[in-house]
């Protein structure tokens, strides 16, 4: 994939990421809000309501038949956080017209459709209708109910609630279920109007494209309502206290295997060299099938079917997830602690370090095999650093990491949360 080409059209930054190997074109319009966590549900609802509530295509039959006629054009909206800003993405993906006969205007039709999603929802007297709001609240509640029926996911959800209990200004659960009823027609509609009056906007296009042709499409069809505003980037400032007392909680359900989540905080920041060191450390810890957790807990002691660790750099969080029988809960938690202590003391083999480093570098190198993953890295990087995502620089950072760097990164971890989802039984009597 080539380096992004930056253009400015109608005051909006447009980034073209060209690649001949992909047969689809993805176009993403990104709205960054300055308003933060208070409107998390409004922004979450916008991501669905705009895609599902188009004035021009008032029923599923009309909308999806039109999308099918555009060769199965896929359209979706999402709300995420980048730094402490909330961002709404509206994304379309469709097959490149190069592979279709007699469809020279597919990109133009697709871009007009994206504009329609964003600028022309069905409103009454300038506001979303009660039905649209109620449908969104209902869907959020249904999703929560669905979550409860999948025990692993529900246990993880409960873990995150506990983890963020003392970090409420940093909790980005989309949606925030406890505050669904706070959304009113006014707050919802105001959040929508702010997209045009306050938000910063950028456009990303990837695929085997002619940027000049796209310039023309955007100039010709971009709604004049979509205007770029300056929005201050807000960093996520995690409190970090090495002496903090961990939060421990047990919840009960009728489960055959206990699910355990252990969360550690770190003060290592995203996109730094230490971030690379902590990624490698996480790989050594529980990131693959030769990691210390996997070998010790599953292979050597057969205490678990799955055990792994996961580093979420945007959350300054490393999480260990595992399942075990109720009788082995304490043994397993003790083993996780011992294994982390070993890494903190530098007790891991040269081979394991080499493999973990190679895994991380391979994962980075293969980013260019996925348009969506590569695109997302660029969007994050432009937002957080103002610069393009420099893949080669990232790979060279990983290459430079030493075992001492890994030990230092491991020592940044502080136990924050232990959550057990388990059954009642004799051991607790």
């Amino acid at each position: 994939m080539k380096e992004p080409i930056k253009r400015t059209i109608n005051g909006i930054d447009v980034y073209y990421i060209k690649s001949k190997k992909f047969k689809t074109i993805t176009c993403s319009m990104v709205f960054t809000h300055e308003q933060g966590i208070d409107l998390i549900n409004e922004y979450y609802f916008l991501s669905n309501a705009l895609v599902d509530n188009m004035k021009k295509y008032p029923s599923n039959v009309l909308k999806y038949r039109y999308q099918s006629s555009l060769y199965g054009l896929d359209a979706f909206g999402s709300a995420t956080s980048i730094g402490n800003n909330i961002v709404n993405h509206f994304v379309i993906t469709y097959p490149n017209e190069l592979y279709l006969e007699q469809e020279p205007d597919l990109s133009k039709k697709a871009f007009i459709f994206l504009n329609e999603i964003i600028t022309n929802p069905s409103l009454r007297k300038g506001k979303f209708t009660k039905k649209v709001l109620n449908d969104n609240v209902k869907e959020a509640k249904e999703l929560h109910e669905l979550l409860k029926s999948v025990k692993d996911m529900y246990a993880y959800y409960n873990f995150t609630k506990l983890f963020y209990k003392d970090k409420l200004d940093l909790q980005f659960n989309f949606p925030e279920n406890d505050r669904l009823s706070d959304v009113t027609l006014d707050t919802f509609t105001n959040a929508y109007n702010d997209m045009f009056n306050k938000d910063s906007v950028s456009i990303f296009v990837t695929g085997d494209i002619d940027e000049n042709k796209f310039d023309e499409i955007i100039k010709e069809t971009l709604s004049p309502r979509i205007v770029n505003h300056q929005v201050k980037s807000i960093d996520r400032n995690f409190s970090y206290n090495k002496d903090a007392k961990p939060k421990i909680k047990k919840e009960y359900d009728n489960v055959s295997q206990s699910r355990i989540f252990i969360g550690y905080t770190t003060n290592i920041k995203y996109f730094t060299r230490d971030h690379a060191a902590l990624s490698i450390m996480n790989n050594i810890f529980g990131g693959f099938d030769q990691s210390k957790l996997f070998i010790e807990i599953r292979e050597k002691h057969n205490l678990s079917y799955y055990v792994d660790s996961n580093y979420q750099p945007e959350e300054n969080l490393v999480t260990v997830s595992l399942s075990t029988s109720k009788a082995n809960e304490d043994i397993v938690i003790q083993k996780v602690t011992e294994i982390l202590d070993e890494i903190k003391a530098g007790e891991f083999s040269d081979d394991l370090f080499k493999q973990a480093k190679e895994n991380c570098m391979n994962s980075l190198e293969s980013l260019v095999d996925s348009q969506s993953r590569y695109l997302l890295q660029h969007i994050k990087s432009y937002h957080l650093t103002g610069e393009k995502y420099d893949l080669q620089h990232r790979i060279s950072l990983y290459r430079s990491i030493t075992q001492e760097d890994v030990v230092k990164a491991a020592n940044s971890l502080v136990l924050d949360t232990v959550y057990l989802y388990t059954k009642r039984g004799d051991l607790d009597a």
């Binding site: 992909f22 599923n60 039959v61 099918s68 199965g72 279709l100 055959s256 099938d289 391979n362 293969s366």
Partner: protein, 425 residues
């Protein structure tokens, strides 16, 4: 070597080696990763079979257990070796197949060589057998915690009497405990024969080089015993049980799962690709996002994000599953059942049928953007003998009237329903 054109600039090379191993190579020179799959026509349904006149019965979950065991075959540690060379290897077992897959950026030749050498013979260590039994027990216990798994199992038991179909792919803990080394070696020799296996490679590779490498490889040169045809023994006697079942349990969710059994005779009449294409086309026409029924269900507040439809077409049986989690059980149940029964009685939506073809064409092009997805597609086509070259052509040439015989499966005797309702036991 046979070269087929899957899409304008996408080619797949097919070859059958002298050992009988089928090979498909899809060169994707611009992708960083290479993915390799070695698949065996041996799955959860293979518990009772005939070889010639000899009847064989093996414990449930055998294919899955053997898949675990082969990671440590002959004292090797495949996962460790692949990690050492920067690759990821994994495996899964379904009802019809066992599949070993690795992906890598470098060291492809070495890894392919190592993989094939690991499947020439079987020699399981006693210690490994004990260890894997414990791990699989954890795995089976975990699946018992899933409500979705429970309802799905119940539905299968209503549709089929054959335990090979209804039992979990992983088997039962009791059956797994009964497996020993001699059984493992014997079953390996029966099913892990190159004539019962295929190799699929997608990535930045040269097909000619790979084929000459494979031809000379010890796996291909090995003196394989004669492959004897394996015929699965079906025990699918008609069931005398209810086709509708309500279960009131201490769930925290109301779930409804509908199964539509595909009559076994259709597997003798139609090819797998035809069944996939025609059933997919009907489901999209009746319950797809652009269907009239989807709008009706939505307008009546009977639709939510948990709604799903899918067709499970295995080696010699299959069914359609329509699932939803909803508190409006009664109304949804009556509405959806009427819609299903109407499929056979009413004409399909001809406008949607034609528009869907554009969507399928677009989706087919899109699949090539993802190496894992196109690799999966090719792997399925190889094991199911699907003609990749003409797959799209078949979809485009399908006529509405071609679907009439398939519509006939949507009748009362093929429809089964399980409803899980909230409540206390």
């Amino acid at each position: 070597m046979h070269k087929i054109n899957a899409l304008s600039d996408e080619y797949i090379y097919l070859e059958t080696l002298s050992s009988g191993l089928k090979v498909a190579i899809h060169p994707t020179p611009n992708f960083k990763k290479t993915i390799v799959t070695l698949q065996v026509a041996f799955g959860g349904i293979d518990v009772q079979y005939k070889i010639g006149e000899k009847d064989k019965v093996i414990p449930s979950g055998f294919a899955h257990f053997l898949e675990h065991m082969l990671f440590s075959n002959d004292g090797r540690n495949i996962a460790e070796e692949f990690s050492k060379y920067g690759a990821n290897i994994n495996a899964y077992t379904s009802k019809s197949i066992t599949n070993y897959r690795f992906d890598c950026i470098d060291n492809f030749d070495y890894l392919l060589d190592y993989l094939l050498r690991s499947f020439i013979s079987s020699n399981s260590g006693e210690q490994s057998i004990v260890k894997e039994k414990k791990i699989i027990e954890h795995e089976l216990n975990m699946s018992m915690d899933s409500l979705h798994h429970k309802i799905y199992q119940k539905l299968k038991r209503m549709m089929y009497s054959d335990e090979a179909i209804t039992e979990d792919v992983g088997g039962t803990i009791k059956d797994i405990k009964s497996i020993d080394k001699s059984m493992l070696d014997e079953v390996f020799n029966t099913f892990y024969h190159p004539k019962n296996m295929s190799l699929i490679i997608s990535g930045n590779v040269d097909p000619l080089e790979i084929i000459s490498f494979l031809k000379a490889h010890p796996y291909n040169m090995h003196h394989w015993s004669e492959f004897k045809k394996i015929t699965r023994v079906k025990n699918n006697l008609p069931r005398k049980i209810h086709s509708h079942k309500k279960v009131i349990d201490n769930n925290n969710a109301n779930m409804i799962s509908i199964g539509i059994k595909i009559p076994s005779e259709l597997f003798d009449i139609y090819s797998k690709d035809y069944l996939h294409i025609s059933i997919g086309s009907i489901l999209s026409n009746i319950f797809g996002l652009a269907s009239k029924n989807f709008d009706i269900l939505k307008k009546q507040n009977l639709m939510n994000v948990s709604f799903s439809t899918n067709s499970n077409i295995e080696r010699d049986y299959g069914y359609i599953n329509i699932y939803m989690q909803t508190d409006k059980q009664e109304k949804y149940y009556n509405t959806i059942l009427k819609m299903i029964k109407d499929i056979n009685a009413l004409p399909l939506d001809d406008v949607l049928f034609e528009i869907d073809k554009k969507m399928i064409l677009g989706n087919f092009i899109t699949v090539f953007d993802s190496l894992p997805r196109i690799h999966d597609f090719i792997s399925s086509c190889i094991i199911e003998n699907i003609d990749i070259e003409n797959y799209l052509k078949k979809v485009m040439e399908l006529k509405l009237e071609d679907l009439e015989p398939i519509k006939k499966i949507f009748v009362k005797e093929n429809i089964f329903v399980v409803r899980y309702l909230k409540g206390l036991k």
